[in-house]
Symmetry: C2
Subunit: 191 residues, 2 copies
């Protein structure tokens, strides 16, 4: 792992815990045992670092979701497996007890962020909704899911709930809270 990767890892960790405006180059430098000027060598400005973090996050997330699509061939169990694959990172995040979704953290301070980062946050949210919408639609066709609303609407509700629950779970320091939400969300889709 290169220094640049170490910096990205730490920056992402800081954003997910303290927010973009809640950490500095000094924090990262101290943890890595280097000087802030070394970080500026890899990422000239803080906004460059922020952009790099969110782009990597989205790329990794989309790769993860594409693996879910591979599982989701046809048949009822496949749709549920794809949904579980999708939910994995959210459950892991909740499990930390200290982090929320990176884009949720950035979304909370979005009016103070450079426009490049704003755009990425919006794109992440749209991607999730569209992907969920598709899988809900397919799951409905295959009989895996039963929906009381249009797939697009259901997808938005589902995603808003997931993200909101992550933040609230952390504030309450109660991982069980999140698990119950996941359970209710899945139950709501069951035929």
């Amino acid at each position: 792992m290169s220094t640049a990767d170490d910096i990205l890892d730490l920056a992402q960790d800081y954003i997910q815990t303290r927010g973009y405006n809640g950490f500095s180059y000094k924090d990262i430098a101290a943890k890595l045992g280097i000087k802030t000027s070394s970080i500026h060598y890899h990422f000239a400005k803080k906004s460059d670092l922020g952009c790099a973090v969110i782009r990597r996050y989205i790329t990794d997330f989309e790769r993860h979701v594409r693996q879910a699509e591979e599982k989701e061939q046809q048949g009822p169990e496949a749709a549920w497996q794809a949904l579980d694959q999708y939910l994995g990172p959210f459950i892991e995040t909740a499990h930390t007890g200290t982090k929320i979704c990176l884009c949720m953290a950035l979304g909370g301070e979005i009016m103070s962020l450079p426009s490049e980062i704003r755009a990425e946050v919006g794109a992440f949210f749209s991607f999730n909704e569209e992907w969920l919408s598709q899988i809900l639609h397919k799951g409905k066709e295959s009989g895996a899911f039963q929906l009381n609303d249009h797939p697009e609407h259901k997808a938005r509700i589902f995603f808003s709930t997931l993200e909101g629950a992550l933040l609230i779970t952390r504030a309450k320091q109660d991982e069980k809270y999140f698990k119950r939400i996941i359970h209710s969300l899945k139950q709501d889709l069951a035929p």
Copy 2:
């Protein structure tokens, strides 16, 4: 309106738009045409200001919700009226296009906040869940609502969705998004 109130108003506005770590005494002083030392006279430390803002916010919110309880006497329409009264501030916030719920904004940076503020954020979330849980329970009894889950679980889902949707709506700059979520949430409760 006193200067202290003006400071509180501006601080709240800044937190809801830019986050707690996204504004400074200088920002507020500039807007009010005073010096930062004058703000320190009213609120010695930034954390004092933060605490005052969230405490006022919660007090005002609880007063608003208590008015909803008065509407919620008995009968099916009453439960729906109480719910609409409750939803008012969320809809107003979404309408600004720039703000999210104060506690959501603080919740996003909670790991960087003083413990007094952390505790208030958690209390706000718990209050909302408990209030919603009660009204869902009563509405179910009166036949106003039909629930496919326990009132406590439904309340948590409902609240998580509401808060998550506020943040996502702002990031996407699409108020219609929030209105559709509200519509779906209400439809889901209808018998």
